[in-house]
């Protein structure tokens, strides 16, 4: 049973339950009301309505799983940074589970804060930027399945979006636009510099990253996550495309904007970068979403290079996928708390002079391997 069938069953059961009451109510009423009731009930039982509701329920399930992972990721980030810098991380809020509840406490604190819009800000842009940022980042998760059976699907077969990899990277790349809008509309020099840096940074990492994705897709021979992961049944792509794996990891760190490449935020130089003027839960959403992007980055790396949900049958496939994503996130965080932030010109130099040739070389290697018939 896959996620679609599971959700379809739940929705079907719920609709039947409500419909029984509904028809009974319609029988009590005069005939012209009864006809209306029957029409609405028949619509609710139609296949189109049921599948739409099923997809919505799937989205909720995937979103909840993603948000729980985000809570874990924030906790891991804080705990890890603490231990790397030789201090205890969060400790007291839920100390029996290692201070895990600290995130919830911070969330409640952010909820109770006042939300201020600067007087001279562009109100529409200021309001739209968080929506675009959070929405596009959540949409990345929609395309990533945890296994063949656990992902957003539109029919009984359980197959995900046909071009899921492309969709995920397309959604992933929208964020710099939202950052630029947020930086511009805040009407503050720090936010503006942050937004411009984000745009400049995107120029440098996006192209090498997509070239490497192209090489992976070339080896896999398909655009969906299912095909990419199935192609790694014999060997993970991280081994033949080791060069590409390293470059991809660097690019994904730049994509999720953590420490060596967090130029748009850069709290030492620009106060809080592009989030300077945001406060309350708007800032909380930004912070949460940045970790959501970290999770999405880990999941993409896992699916493309580390064999996805492939693993010994000791534990379910979904957990293999999550474990690998957590390990990738661990490495990203390890880099984050070890390396210094680089300058704007350095990231451009790195992206165009180092990563770009390496990515093209990686594409050539992939093409050569495909030509030899090894994959």
């Amino acid at each position: 049973m896959n996620l679609y069938e599971f959700c379809y069953g739940i929705i079907h059961w719920l609709v039947d339950l409500v419909n029984n009451l509904w028809y009974w109510l319609g029988d009590l009423l005069p005939w012209w009301f009864g006809d209306f009731f029957t029409a609405v009930g028949d619509f609710a039982r139609s296949d189109g309505h049921l599948s739409v509701m099923t997809i919505l329920l799937e989205g909720v399930v995937i979103l909840v799983v993603g948000l729980v992972n985000v809570l874990n990721f924030i906790w891991i980030d804080r705990k890890l940074s603490g231990r790397i810098f030789d201090f205890y991380g969060p400790y007291y809020v839920g100390y029996r589970i290692g201070g895990w509840l600290q995130n919830l406490a911070d969330g409640i604190k952010l909820f109770t804060k006042e939300i201020i819009t600067p007087a001279k800000a562009d109100r529409v842009g200021f309001l739209v930027a968080p929506i675009v940022f959070v929405g596009s980042s959540v949409l990345v998760l929609a395309a990533i399945p945890f296994s063949h059976n656990f992902g957003i699907a539109t029919n009984d077969s359980g197959a995900g979006i046909p071009a899921g990899v492309l969709f995920a990277f397309a959604m992933f790349a929208i964020a710099p636009f939202a950052i630029l809008v947020a930086g511009w509309s805040s009407n503050n020099k720090y936010t503006l510099i942050g937004g411009m840096r984000s745009a400049a940074q995107m120029m440098s990492y996006e192209i090498p990253m997509l070239l490497i994705v192209a090489s992976v897709l070339l080896l896999a021979g398909g655009f969906s996550f299912g095909e990419v992961v199935d192609a790694q049944h014999d060997i993970w792509f991280a081994i033949p495309l080791f060069l590409g794996f390293i470059v991809f990891l660097v690019c994904i760190v730049a994509e999720v904007e953590v420490q060596p490449f967090d130029l748009p935020e850069a709290e030492a130089e620009l106060v809080e970068g592009w989030t300077t003027e945001y406060c309350g839960m708007r800032f909380g959403l930004f912070m949460m979403t940045s970790y959501l992007r970290g999770y999405a980055g880990g999941a993409l790396t896992t699916a493309l290079f580390l064999g996805g949900w492939q693993g010994p049958r000791l534990i379910p496939d979904e957990f293999w996928f999550l474990i690998k994503a957590y390990i990738v996130f661990f490495v990203v965080e390890w880099m984050r708390w070890s390396l210094p932030r680089i300058r704007v010109d350095q990231i451009l130099g790195l992206g165009w002079k180092r990563l770009m040739p390496l990515a093209i070389l990686n594409l050539l290697i992939a093409a050569a391997m495909k030509t030899m018939g090894w994959f």
Binding site: L80, G82, R83, I84, D86, F87, W334, M335, L339, P340
Partner: protein, 303 residues
């Protein structure tokens, strides 16, 4: 000229810092605990020399008020207390709100009765509660557990009332540091001990027939305290200074030959004068303040 070789390698910028953080990570998560302390629940063992809240040994304190005088922020005061054990005494209190924790009060204390503990959680919501009266800071056991940093030595202290001017101590002293000085007007002599030379051998105390010399433990003073000087012409023998002195360094001696013959032929008691045993003096200036006849000169002390 030695120039630092700049290494623009990926090993130097990427691999080395990552290895170092991983070492710290393993050390603080797997092999041991992090370096920091969970403050409100765990506390560091502070060194004894930490300067926190004051504590006062009521039995050792003589109420001289040197701490009040030396306090740069003027945050200490002397408070009159009726103690069931010690009677009417004066002891210093401290206002933590104004204290700068310099520790001068503890250093200047001649009997090492005032100390600073390692207690540092002193914040309060009300200013009044920052004022600690002597009873609040009383701890008669703390001074014994405290290892005093000032060097301590035992020196002979003179009890002038017992002294018979026999001069035996001066003869016995191997260091020749006891000078026999005549006390003007009284016809008596007293030993004046040069503490710089004294080796604390204790022979003078042993040889003294009246046991007027007593070996007493004294703490080395960090500060040079003012000394009182008697102006003999003005002294009326009123004993105000003797009563005021907290260190019992002022003795009232009779001056023979000053008796007045009254009309009925009886003789009055002889006039008295003050004698300062400067070795005992703690330099508090109380005698100077108590004297109403300008008979005591104490440069450097305000009235």
């Amino acid at each position: 000229m030695a120039e630092a070789k700049q290494k623009n390698t990926y090993t130097g910028f990427v691999v080395k810092p990552m290895l170092r953080t991983m070492r710290t990570f393993v050390k603080s998560l797997i092999l041991g605990r992090p370096n920091t302390v969970l403050y409100p629940y765990q506390k560091l063992d502070l060194p004894q020399v930490y300067r926190g809240l004051h504590t006062l040994d009521f039995k050792k304190c003589i109420g001289c008020g040197n701490c009040v005088i030396i306090c740069p922020n003027d945050c200490m005061w002397l408070e009159k207390i009726d103690d069931p054990e010690l009677g009417k005494i004066e002891r210093p209190g401290v206002d933590i709100g104004r204290c700068l924790f310099c520790g001068f009060c503890a250093e200047v204390c001649p009997t090492a009765a005032l100390h600073m503990t390692t207690e540092f959680e002193l914040a309060n919501h009300e200013r009044n509660k920052l004022r600690f009266s002597p009873k609040d800071i009383r701890d008669d056991k703390f001074a014994d557990t405290f290892k005093e940093e000032r060097s301590r030595r035992s020196l002979p202290y003179l009890n002038m009332e017992k002294c018979t001017s026999c001069e035996k101590c001066g003869e016995e002293c191997p260091e020749m540091c006891i000078a026999i000085v005549p006390v003007e007007g009284t016809g008596r002599k007293r030993p004046e001990i040069n503490f710089a030379k004294c080796t604390s051998c204790g022979k003078c105390a042993v040889v003294c027939p009246e046991k007027a010399l007593e070996m007493t433990d004294v703490y080395e003073a960090y500060f040079e305290m003012p000394e009182p000087k008697l102006v003999l012409e003005n002294c009326t023998g009123c004993q105000a200074c003797s009563k005021a002195c907290p260190a019992e360094a002022v003795y009232m001696l009779e001056m023979p030959g000053t008796e007045k013959v009254l009309k009925d032929g009886k003789k009055t008691k002889p006039k008295k004068r003050a004698v300062f045993i400067l070795e005992k003096c703690v330099g508090c200036g109380r005698c100077f303040r108590a004297c109403k006849f300008k008979a005591i000169d104490m440069p450097g002390v305000k009235k």
